[in-house]
């Protein structure tokens, strides 16, 4: 039955998340950005509440929540600050790989580490085009530098997905610092997220470091990407909701020409359009979450388009937030400029908006059955 009502459990999670987002994350956002890392107290608090293990298997001590529940929680946390969310310790994107293959021996040290403390931080490289992976008899040799990824600056683990020199997909897992982190010169946004590049200089990964190869790797990765697309879209929705709410409050109080600027339709109509974008992107993300929960990788096209839609919406909404605040939107005394920068950095990290649409379009052109049901 069509319903937009969260479960009691989801509501309870989101209530706690909202309190942390508003009372702890939002006030710390500038400070974390300047320090270029997330404050330990916020990380600890979210770890204690289980928020860093939402995707992880229950058998590991994670919460293993459905994607639709996670989407709502990340949305609310990102309402606090997306920069902090993206810099949190824990498994990050690799959680979806862990969830799919929890018994794989390559994860054992990770699981063990999580029993006694905060989940180690994993940087994930979807490095098909940037990392050369050469197959040898007893493993792989990696060379090359990744594109910027989040949490590179403080990664304890690195998971790299790519194709070997024979074109076969492979996912390798490193739990020792065999890589080098290139810190780079990041100024745009998500500055608390530990952005950096990972460099492999002839690093050997034995077969015991291989999570999957061939068809298995492709399936694992496809499903993990779908899950991540949905979660990243949900985070972007949280950011745009923050920008929308702030803009409403600001324009309701700010006066010009003798009245609240909200009373000018140039302002109020723009705010309404921001709300349209937020709702639209949220529903598309939620619908994708439900589909992926039900159908797994088969629903990946819905996840791609959810992210593509969120990219477009988050750029629009955060840009308009700055615009509606005028000069105040541009200066750092107000949060809008940071949100716009964070939004654009997020879009760059999970980019290829057009590519997501083209991929989805290819799927549609390839489908043969009549598409009556939504």
């Amino acid at each position: 039955m069509i319903s937009f009502r969260p479960t009691e459990e989801e509501r309870a999670f989101c209530e706690v998340a909202k309190t942390i987002a508003v009372e702890e994350m939002r006030p710390s956002a500038r400070d974390c950005e300047q320090r270029r890392s997330v404050s330990a107290s916020i990380a600890k608090r979210l770890h204690e509440l289980g928020f860093l293990g939402l995707e992880l298997p229950e058998s590991w001590g994670g919460l293993e929540l459905p994607l639709i529940s996670q989407a709502q929680i990340w949305q609310v946390l990102s309402y606090g600050d997306l920069g902090i969310v993206q810099g949190l310790p824990g498994p990050g994107e690799a959680a979806s790989l862990m969830r799919q293959a929890p018994e794989h021996p390559v994860w054992r040290p990770y699981r063990d580490a999580g029993q006694t403390g905060i989940w180690p931080t994993v940087a994930f490289i979807d490095g098909e085009e940037t990392i050369e992976v050469r197959r040898s008899r007893d493993g792989y040799r990696l060379n090359g530098t990744s594109a910027p990824v989040r949490r590179a600056a403080f990664a304890d683990w690195v998971v790299a997905a790519g194709k070997d020199n024979e074109g076969e997909p492979v996912i390798v897992v490193f739990d020792e610092r065999t890589w080098e982190t290139i810190e780079g010169d990041f100024r745009l946004g998500l500055l608390a997220a530990g952005l950096g590049r990972i460099r492999f200089s002839d690093v050997f990964a034995g077969n015991d470091r291989v999570l999957a190869r061939g068809e298995e790797a492709s399936a694992l990765l496809g499903h993990a990407r779908a899950r991540q697309c949905v979660l990243e879209a949900a985070k972007e929705v949280g950011l745009m909701e923050a920008a929308l709410d702030y803009t409403i409050e600001y324009t309701a109080g700010r006066k010009a020409f003798g009245q609240e600027i909200a009373k000018f339709q140039g302002v109020s109509f723009t705010v309404a359009e921001m709300a349209f974008e937020c709702r639209g992107a949220r529903n598309i993300a939620w619908a994708a979450a439900c589909r992926v929960d039900e159908q797994g990788r088969a629903a990946e096209g819905f996840a791609w388009r959810a992210l593509a839609r969120a990219h477009r919406s988050v750029r629009y909404v955060t840009d308009q937030a700055v615009q509606m605040l005028g000069g105040h939107g541009y200066v750092q005394e107000y949060p809008a400029e940071k949100w716009m920068r964070d939004a654009q950095a997020q879009v760059l990290l999970y980019a290829r908006e057009t590519d997501w649409f083209i991929r989805r379009g290819e799927q549609l052109l390839d489908e043969r059955k009549e598409r009556v049901a939504p």
Partner: protein
Amino acid sequence: MISFALSPQQKQIKELVHWFAQHEVRPLALEADRLGRVPEEWLQKVNKMGIQLNTSSFGGGRSAPAAGQKPDKKEREGNRVAVIAAEELAWGCPAIALSLPGPGLGGPPIQSSGTPEQKQRFLSIFTKDEPRWGAYALTEPEAGSDASGIRTTARKVDGGYVLNGQKIFITNGARASWVVVFATVDPKLGRAGHRAFVVEKGTPGFLATRTVHKMGLRANETAELVFEDCFVPAENLLGGEELYSAAAHQPSGFQVAMKTFDSTRPIVAAMAVGIARAAYEYTLEIVRRDYPKQGRLYYEAAELLAEAEQEIDAARLLTWEAAWKADIGEANAMEAAICKAVAGKMALRVCAMCLELLGPVGLDGHLVEKLYRDVKVFDIFEGTQQIQRLVTARRLYAPYGVHV
């Protein structure tokens, strides 16, 4: 829990209505557009089949409890069923869908504000023996978006009211057996002076002066109505005098009109979604068949089609959200405005994208150009997209006490 899966009833109605739209409506769409009307014999036929554009099919199918009957304890899903059915009908042809016999947009105000006697009297006439229509008349030459500015007057006289004024852009207004007409008992009272009347066809002084020619929806009748010293008996005052005296300080006639929008805007939005989907599916088939399988054109088409698909689904979900809120009994005016604003604009854009993909061939005898002409008005009637922005903004700013 959050879910986007259809219930068994919703699925059944969707399939049934889609079958009808595919086999009975779509084959007639281009011909009805050329004729500028829906053939009478077709209307007779579908009316005998029991297919109508009525509030009960929009309100949850024929199983909806009749007046006085106890509602069952199952979750109400009439509004969700309504938007699902509306999308399918419009997918077949929006002009024919709007021409189907039944109370149409006049149904919701009678359902929501009519007395039990009025509901019985006006809604029971839609039987299989012959096709009948209802209509809804709010817009006037000088009062479109600003519905509070209507100038049609209702002067109280012994036993009823005398109406004078003009209404324009009234769907099925000339053929309707009755029309819900909004008028003011005193223009100085503003919204508080508004009253809604059910004016029956043949009432002396009530005339349909002409039907207009439009860009699209050509098969659907749009009429201008004139009221000249038209006496309407007191029993045709919608809701009766009690409705207005009980809410002496409320602009209740205006509220009847506005409340109607809360249920009709999601339906109009759903129809826009259906039109966009029709254009998209039609174009998808042509691209699959005629386009090269690789290269620039192929990738451009893939991108446009994926974007169209996403836009259609996003608008549909907003429509479902508005309907869901109505079903659970929550105020949905903002959601109704949002879905209408988004769907109306989206549908025109999707139709334009589809025309772009068809290229010049699309000018000649293709369904999409008709849909493009049809869909524009979905961004206008039942409140323009500007009005939907106003309604949305008012609700967004209400917590701050700022009236925009």
